[in-house]
Every structure is written in structure tokens, then in C-alpha cells.
């Protein structure tokens, strides 16, 4: 069980750089062939200053560069083996491209028991800003804990 008093807790901000080699690994893993992600000229023709990232890659950047990738689970005493991903949301405000340095600031916004306490849903919302201080995205993940 997760204590509802966890709502409002925030975690160590994560700073992550959008590195071309790591991005290529992600694109290759997914068989992603869209030239906008792979070809600098195609990205510029589409109006970007450099190659953009795919829509879910923000989630990966935060995990890859966190000192403690599952900090919020550890801090809330949640066992990784009992966690499933319930929902994921991305809201995009401005482009993120190769070379950007992003800061992720996360906090707990919801804790709710479901199915008579058999499961607990935990919502963590994250604000993402870039090296210029621009607010580029918001993400929200809902974790299902099997109690």
C-alpha cells in the first residue's frame, strides 16, 4: 500500500542531454526509418533546428540520466516487481531536438486505492524544460502497484 500522504512529494530533478548516439540506438531498436528523425536535412526541411525526438523518448531521457532511475519507487517503498504501467501522457509545448539539455522535475499528484485495496494507482507528473528555460513538455505516468 502507498500512503496517500505521498501526494505533493517531489523528487530530485534530472538533467538529460539529447545525445545522437543514444537516440540512434533507440531508433534502430524500433526499426524507426522516418527521415525526420534520422536525417539532419529532412529535419531542417520540416522546420526543426536539428533532428527532433520521437513522441515517447522524453520518458527514456529521464530514466537514462537519473542518478537513481526508479527514485520515486524507492522513496515511496514500492517494490519494482509489483509495479505495472497504467497510463502515460505527453503534452508537447515546443520542439525537443538533438543537442538540447532538458530538466525533468517530478512530483506525486495522486494516490488512490482500487479494487478494495488490491491495487494502488500512483500518478507522477513531470515538467520538462530546456537549456533556455522554455517549458517544452509535461508528462504524466500512472503506476499500478499490485498490493
Amino acid at each position: 500500500m502507498v500512503d496517500p500522504s505521498a501526494v505533493g512529494r517531489s523528487f530530485t530533478p534530472v538533467t538529460a542531454r539529447v545525445e545522437p548516439g543514444r537516440l540512434r540506438f533507440f531508433l534502430n531498436t524500433l526499426g524507426e526509418q522516418n527521415p525526420v528523425y534520422r536525417d539532419e536535412a529532412a529535419a531542417r526541411a520540416a522546420g526543426y533546428s536539428a533532428r527532433p525526438i520521437p513522441p515517447t523518448y522524453l520518458f527514456c531521457l529521464e530514466l537514462m540520466d537519473a542518478e537513481r532511475p526508479f527514485e520515486f519507487l524507492t522513496e515511496l517503498n514500492i517494490d519494482l516487481a509489483r509495479v505495472l504501467h497504467g497510463e502515460q501522457r505527453f503534452t508537447y509545448h515546443a520542439p525537443v531536438v538533438v543537442g538540447d539539455t532538458l530538466t525533468f522535475k517530478s512530483r506525486v499528484t495522486g494516490v488512490a486505492d482500487k479494487k478494495g485495496g488490491a491495487m494502488t494507482m500512483v500518478v507522477v507528473e513531470t515538467e520538462v524544460t530546456n537549456q533556455h528555460g522554455a517549458h517544452v513538455a509535461d508528462t504524466a505516468r500512472t503506476i499500478v502497484v499490485r498490493n
Binding site: F26, P54, L80
Partner: protein, 138 residues
């Protein structure tokens, strides 16, 4: 790319459709490294069994990444305002995924014409793995 086709979408129109090859253990291992999600439940069968699962299973975010790929094959990434999914069921090894998106509503937000898409990812048996929504600028 069919980007021009979605400039004037009609409600009910299917604008996103893509199929993907079966998910292998190798895919899960690569995604573990490429995504930074090192949860052993997706790559270590001993860990998965100890947690009560018969085998390893896909990262939800791998499946969402495939859906995102299907989405940006059809719609330029710069047009996507939001992207949301619910993970309806665990995606098993070997699943061959089909991602689809249909226009459900035409809307306007702060002067920008937008469309709401209903998104699904199903396996080869037709079971819904992901159900979600994207808002795109037209």
C-alpha cells in the same frame, strides 16, 4: 508520407495504420538498454517468474513507442499536441502489433484547428493492448 491527406480529415476517417514484426526477447533486451528502463521483469525470466509471471513481457513504453511511430508516420511530429495511452493488457512475447488511429472530433483551441484521434494497439488476436488519444494540429 500521407501528411497532406490529414489536412482536412473527416470524423471517422482512419489516418493512422501500421503493423510491426513480432516482439522477440532480443527486442526487449535492446529496448531495455535503449530506453533506460532496466526493470528486470522485461528481460530476466527468473525475476519475472519470482514476481508471479510465466515469462518476461514487453515494456508498456515499447508498445507506446510503436504506436508513436505509427502516429508520426502519418502526422508530422511538430503537429502533435498531446499523446496519451492507457495500458489495457500486458503485451506478451511474440505479439505482432497493429496500431491504428481514427478521427473522433474536429476542435479548435486558441484559434488553432485541431483533430482528436482515438488510438489503439492490438495484437494478432485482436486484443487491445493500448487505447489512447492524440490531439493534432491541422
Amino acid at each position: 508520407m500521407s501528411e497532406m491527406a490529414i489536412d482536412h480529415p473527416a470524423v471517422g476517417e482512419r489516418v493512422v495504420y501500421k503493423t510491426f514484426p513480432p516482439i522477440t526477447r532480443h527486442t526487449l533486451a535492446l529496448y531495455c538498454g535503449a530506453s533506460g528502463d532496466h526493470n528486470p521483469i522485461h528481460v530476466d525470466i527468473d525475476f519475472a517468474r519470482a514476481a508471479g509471471f510465466p515469462d518476461v513481457f514487453s515494456h508498456g513504453m515499447l508498445v507506446m513507442a510503436y504506436l508513436g511511430q505509427a502516429l508520426t508516420d502519418a502526422i508530422a511530429p511538430s503537429r502533435i499536441r498531446s499523446f496519451w495511452t492507457r495500458f489495457a493488457a500486458i503485451t506478451q512475447l511474440g505479439a505482432s502489433l497493429t496500431c491504428e488511429g481514427h478521427v473522433t472530433e474536429l476542435i479548435e483551441y486558441k484559434g488553432e484547428k485541431r483533430a482528436k484521434l482515438a488510438l489503439t494497439t492490438k495484437d494478432e488476436a485482436g486484443e487491445i493492448k493500448l487505447a489512447g488519444e492524440a490531439i493534432i494540429a491541422l
